[in-house]
Symmetry: C2
Subunit: 344 residues, 2 copies
C-alpha cells in the first residue's frame, strides 16, 4: 500500500474477478512484481513456494484458492479435494485452516452451480475483514506501545520475520502499531532481524523503508546482545498459531528473542488476529512444526540439514497478545475475557 | 590435520622459515587452499580479512606477524609500530594481545640484530604450545562430557561458530573433546549453527565431516527449538575472551544459545586456553565488542545495518570452563583455584 504513494495490496482480484494478482514476495526486496493466479494448483504452489507468505495472507489466498477449485469441480468430493490440497501446503499457520473452512461452510449451503461464486464472494469478504482487523490491531497496539515510550527518546522496537503489510492483505499485524505510531508523529525505530533461512527480515526492512520508518537490519544472532545492552524497549512479532492458553508459535528464532527479552526485562508482545488463535489446543508443544527443505539452509547440498520453520514461545514469556478486540494476557483467562464466546 | 589422512595445520612455517603458509579460510568449505604470508602487512590483512580466524589462531598468527615486522625494523619504535598494527586488526580476542606481548617481551631482551630471529622462534614455540593446550582441553573436555552421555544414545552436542582445529593451530578448543570422544568410540552427534553473518558453522561442518563425526547444520534461529525439545545434551563453544569472573565473550549469538540452554536445563561450557582469559577485567560488559562491516550482512548496501561480532554470556549461564589445566567453575573462585598464580 505504501509503495511510492500508490495503494498496493499483497493480493487483489483481477478486473474480471476471474483470478488473483499477488505480489511475488520471493522477488522482494530486489523487484516488485505481481503474478496472476487462475487455478487451485497455481494457488497451492504460490503458498508452498512462499510467493505469498505470512499467516493472515496465506489464509486469504487459500480462501480464494478454494473458490478457484470449486469453479472446476463444485461437488462435495471436489470441495474436499481442494480443501485437502490447500491444507497440505503449510501445516503450521492455523489461519489457513480457519479461512478454508469458513469459505467451505458458506459454499456447502449452496446448490452446486452457485458454490464457486458464493465462495469467491466470501473470500473477498475475508480479505476486507483482514484489512479491518489489521487496522484495529494497529490502533490497539499503538495505544499499548505509547505506554512504553520513554520521554525524549525514540521507541526502540525489535521484531522478527515479516509481520507487516506484506504478511497480510494490508497494514500488517506486528508492524500495524508501528505504522500507526509513526503516522501519529511518535518517533519509532525498528530493529529488524534478518530471519534466516528465508530472510523475511529484508521484506520488513523494505516495507519500513517504503513507509519512511527508521530501521536497522541485524543478523538473528545479534538480538540477544541488543536486548542485553538496553537498546530495545519492546519486542513485537506476529504469530502463525496461538493456543488457547497463550503459547505463541511463530517463525523459528522467535523463542530465542523472547528468552532474551525476559532476561532484559523487556516486554514481548505478539500481534495476532483472532483467526490465528487455535481454540482446539492448549499446549504449544502439540502444534505441528513444518520442516522445510534443506536447500533453504545449504544451497550446495553438501551438508545434512535440519530446518524447522517455526518454534513455540511459551505463554510465560509473552507479556500480552494484541488482537483486533484489544490487548489481553497470554493466558486462558486473558483470552477468554476478550473472546467470551470461545471460552469453553 | 584430518584432511584426507594428511596432516595439515592451519598455519605452518615455509620450508625456508622466512614466511608462513596459512589455510585461506575465506575459501572454505568450497576450496582448501593455502596462501603465503611474508610481511607484517600481509599478516595484518590476513587477520582483518579473516583469512585466519579463531582466537587461538589469531594469536599465533599475530605472534609470527611481530617477528616479520622486526625483520624490517627491529628498533623499539619498529616493534611498537608492529605491535600496534597487529592489535588494531581485531579488538575483541584477547589471545592476540597476549601472544604479541609475549613475543615482544622476548625480543626486547635481545640486541637489535637478534630480535627478529628470537621473536620468530618464540612464535614457533607458541604455535607448538597451542597444539599441546588444545590436546589437553580435548582430554579434560572428553572426561567431562563422558559424564553427560546417556546410556544407549549418542551424545548430542550443540556448538556455535567454529572452535575446531581451523580456529587453532590444530585440534581446536570446543571440538577437541568431540574429536577425542569420537576417536575413543563414543557415539557423538554435533548440531552446527551456521553462525551468521560469516557462516563459520560451515567450517565446523566441513571439519567434522573430514573427521567423520556425524553432524547436522541448522540456522542460528533453530537452536532454541532444539534445546526446548530435548534434542541437545550439552552446549560447548569456544571463546574470544573470558573475564576473571568467568563472563564469556564469544561469537555473536552465543548468549542466545546459553539462555536457551539454561531454560532447558542443559549445561553450557566454554572451552578456553588460559591465553583467552583476560585477568585484567572482571566484567564482560567492559569488553570492546568489534563492529564489523555492514556488507557482511547486506551485500546490496541498501539497508542500514548494525553488525556486532561478539556478545557476552554472563558467568551465571556458564556451567564451567574447560581449560588446559582442567575444568573449573566460571567464577573468580573457580578460576583462581585452577590458576592460583594469577589470583590477585
Amino acid at each position: 500500500m505504501r509503495v511510492q504513494g500508490a495503494h498496493l495490496r499483497t493480493i487483489r482480484e483481477t478486473e474480471d474477478h476471474r483470478g488473483l494478482m499477488v505480489i511475488d514476495q520471493t522477488l522482494l526486496p530486489d523487484r516488485l512484481e505481481q503474478v496472476r493466479i487462475l487455478t487451485l494448483a497455481e494457488c497451492a504452489r504460490a503458498i508452498t513456494g512462499m510467493v505469498v507468505r505470512g499467516a493472515p495472507l496465506i489464509g486469504v489466498t487459500a480462501a480464494y484458492g478454494l473458490a478457484l477449485g470449486l469453479r472446476d469441480d463444485p461437488s462435495d468430493a471436489g470441495m474436499e479435494l481442494a480443501r485437502r490440497t490447500l491444507l497440505a501446503t503449510r501445516p503450521t499457520a492455523v489461519n489457513l485452516r480457519w479461512a478454508v473452512d469458513r469459505v467451505a461452510a458458506v459454499a456447502r449451503e449452496r446448490p452446486l452451480f452457485e458454490r464457486a461464486g458464493a465462495a469467491w464472494r466470501e473470500a473477498g469478504r475475508l480479505a476486507e475483514e483482514d484489512v479491518a482487523v489489521c487496522e484495529a490491531i494497529g490502533r490497539h497496539g499503538a495505544a499499548l506501545l505509547r505506554g512504553v515510550v520513554r520521554r525524549g527518546t525514540e521507541l526502540e522496537v525489535l521484531t522478527h520475520c515479516n509481520a507487516g503489510w506484506l504478511a497480510t492483505v494490508d497494514w500488517g499485524t506486528a508492524l500495524a502499531p508501528v505504522y500507526a505510531l509513526h503516522d501519529a508523529g511518535v518517533p519509532v525505530h525498528v530493529w529488524v532481524s534478518e530471519t534466516r533461512p528465508r530472510n523475511q527480515g529484508l521484506l520488513t526492512a523494505w516495507e519500513l523503508g517504503q513507509h519512511g520508518v527508521p530501521h536497522t537490519l541485524i543478523v538473528d544472532n545479534a538480538a540477544g546482545h541488543l536486548l542485553q545492552r538496553g537498546r530495545v524497549d519492546v519486542c513485537v512479532t506476529g504469530a502463525d498459531r496461538v493456543t488457547s492458553s497463550g503459547d505463541v508459535c511463530n517463525k523459528i528464532g522467535t523463542y530465542l528473542k523472547a528468552l532474551a527479552a525476559r532476561e532484559a526485562g523487556v516486554p514481548f508482545f505478539a500481534a495476532v488476529p483472532s483467526s490465528t488463535i487455535d481454540w482446539s489446543i492448549p499446549l504449544g508443544s502439540t502444534i505441528p512444526i513444518e520442516e522445510r527443505a534443506a536447500a533453504e539452509v545449504d544451497r550446495t547440498g553438501e551438508f545434512e540439514v535440519f530446518n524447522p520453520g517455526f518454534d513455540v514461545t511459551p505463554a510465560s514469556l509473552v507479556r500480552g497478545l494484541i488482537t483486533e478486540r484489544g490487548v489481553c494476557d497470554a493466558s486462558p483467562v486473558g483470552l477468554s475475557r476478550l473472546f467470551p464466546e470461545r471460552a469453553a
